[in-house]
Symmetry: C2
DNA sequence: GTAAAGGCTGTAGTGACTATAGGGTCAACA
DNA sequence: TGTTGACCCTATAGTCACTACAGCCTTTAC
């Protein structure tokens, strides 16, 4: 059940140094050690690290990821606070979803126009153009 | 029509120093200058910068953003290359869309359960848990 | 004409990793 | 039993993508 830091890194696509870095800054708890002083991880750390990595991949800062994790960690906190944080993050997620959807449409356009041999109608920049003023 | 670096920053939500940084590393072209040596930007730079910022916000590296911009810039390049790059980015976009959709569902869950007064069923970590093995 | 706002270059600091040095642990195989 | 190789440990320095001064110049508004 318990795995080494290398296993955890392979499973989550994270460099070993990055995992130790997350521990140093307090984003991951310090795990128990083996007799040989090796870190020993369980399923909870795997879930937590996976969440951190994918949150980062979606463009959230470590502080934002920390806030999201706190939604799950501190269930006894003031519900109004949690609600406000969740709402703010939801807004940001909706915005990112809209941008990604637009980008997907343009990438599909590039791919299909490439198939035809010409790519004269590439509007990829316009997909993420200036927001409405 | 032409705007200052400060205007451009305000419109795109970018710090002035960041714009100058993008110019220094060659991501934005060096714009013409006024008599007083001020940078003078037009609509093309606005579109390009907006794309860069939103691409970054979606978790793409500057190199990835550069590659996406190149899809639009170098239309005379080999179409097969462009197609391959676009396909790779499309895959990544689809993955991010799936993650964001899962995160949105969990955030909505937090918000609605907060409304009820209890937040015992928070599965926000599970939304971005380890990928299928 | 002068004060405030905003632009200029250059350099140094921050957040989030990433790489390297120098050494210890462990499983496997001769 | 010894030793080889893969992997772990700490500590520190380097990189990427900004961000924040310092010190000075230009423009706008009174």
């Amino acid at each position: 059940m318990a795995v080494t830091i290398g296993d955890l890194g392979r499973t989550t696509g994270t460099k070993v140094e990055t995992i130790r870095y997350y521990e140093r800054i307090g984003l991951l708890p310090a795990p128990p050690r083996t007799d040989g002083n090796y870190r020993s991880y369980g399923a909870a750390e795997l879930a937590r690290l996976s969440f951190i990595r994918r949150g980062r991949d979606l463009g959230f800062s470590l502080d934002q990821v920390r806030a999201l994790l706190a939604l799950s960690d501190d269930r006894q906190d003031d519900c109004a606070d949690i609600d406000a944080i969740a709402r703010r993050h939801l807004e940001e997620v909706e915005r990112k979803l809209a941008d990604l959807t637009a980008l997907r449409r343009e990438l599909k356009g590039v791919i299909s126009s490439c198939k035809g041999g010409a790519i004269s109608d590439c509007r990829i920049i316009e997909a993420l153009g200036p927001r409405a003023v």
